[in-house]
Symmetry: C2
Subunit: 267 residues, 2 copies
Amino acid sequence: MSSDTIGPLISPAALRGSIRSGEYSGLSGGLARGFVQCNVVILPERYAAEFLAFCQLNPKPCPLLAMGTPGDPTLPTLGDDIDIRSDVSAYRVFENGVPTEEVADIAHLWRSDFVTFALGCSFSFEEALEDAGLDVRHNSLGLTNPMFTTNIETVAAGPFRGEMVVTMRPFTPAGAIRAIQITSRYPGVHGAPVHFGDPAAIGITDLTEVEFGGDAVPIHDGEVPVFWACGVTPQVALANANLPICITHKPAHMLVTDKRNAELAIL
Amino acid sequence: MSSDTIGPLISPAALRGSIRSGEYSGLSGGLARGFVQCNVVILPERYAAEFLAFCQLNPKPCPLLAMGTPGDPTLPTLGDDIDIRSDVSAYRVFENGVPTEEVADIAHLWRSDFVTFALGCSFSFEEALEDAGLDVRHNSLGLTNPMFTTNIETVAAGPFRGEMVVTMRPFTPAGAIRAIQITSRYPGVHGAPVHFGDPAAIGITDLTEVEFGGDAVPIHDGEVPVFWACGVTPQVALANANLPICITHKPAHMLVTDKRNAELAIL
């Protein structure tokens, strides 16, 4: 497979090129393996300081990896040629807190006061888990990771507030202990889990009732569900904030950057 | 409290002096806070190489911190003045695999071919857990930690074999995640847990049926039992090995050293 073929070994720049040209509009998981993928939030400058505070107060669901300047669609610390108006394979537009459309490009919506936030994503630590020989169930089954709204309240900042969204991965207890060790090395992409075991303890009543376009995954005998904070949490906070307009990636359609996952390991 | 009073702030050397003189013969937990306490195994030289191999093959239950030379009762890397014949507050003597007596001093039993092994103990990481604000239940209740034989087989070496012994501490899932992070820093004192949750999965049928002189501790609603490998495991292996003679500390009566717990943190 060459670095231009859509697949695990495509380079981030080639993948962004395919997305920018409209050739590729699918899921980003499993592509450009080894490189950081990001959750994206774009909103007017007047809300940027409060959203930045929201990220600072909630580092597990909202680990901020990069922030743009008003009107500037580039994110030079994440990739030389990134144009956030075209380089995500699917966007979700919110108006007055309600998702109104999904689009493949936002050049026609771009404004001189738009500020971009790029937040870490669990795809980075999933690669580390798999490299350690652990089975990340939704990946081995070719599914999207299961996401759930919890009863864990985020810390509010300005209009941004709401419950934390989590992802779930099942492991044996020994596997979960190893997964906790590994993901603790990656605080920039959600870090250690926030919970394991009884889903009801964090307000999840049914693990088959997945949200945000995720898939339910089977939990085998002897396994426990392990829950990590999820970068979809800001989408809940954005809906609650009722901003006149804001734009995010469509869940599971992330911004693929030139930063390596291994660069994010704190030790 | 002065450094000569038996209590949390006594110096290791003063505590060993009190034990050596016969003044103190009690539990070592909670004394000389900040300093490493060790499990002790003393056996004839002809079995030393195989026991060393057993430790190497089973580093979680048998983390070797120091080893003496034949006939030498000192352990200079653990303390200038340590005399292993007198500096443990209670010893257990095994003959042909059976515990035959508990004594306060082994000078009369010492032989020119005896080799001493000092293994790490969970007291070191318990201090780190408490310093992080976690409740180590048996300590806060003034009890000895609960110990259980599991169905986890150690890796055999020569005559040394048997099931792993574990200690149990209850935590909320969030507390358990933090405890896994903290104890992972201390591989020299058992490191991360080996299991959490269902006791039956590791062959424990009843958490109130404690062994080795430990106490049962209550598990509160919303907590899960978390299990760490225990330095009493060698005592099971020694019983299985049927050595003509060997000597250990009495459980919970550890060798108190001059090494600081914080020195053992690998990061």
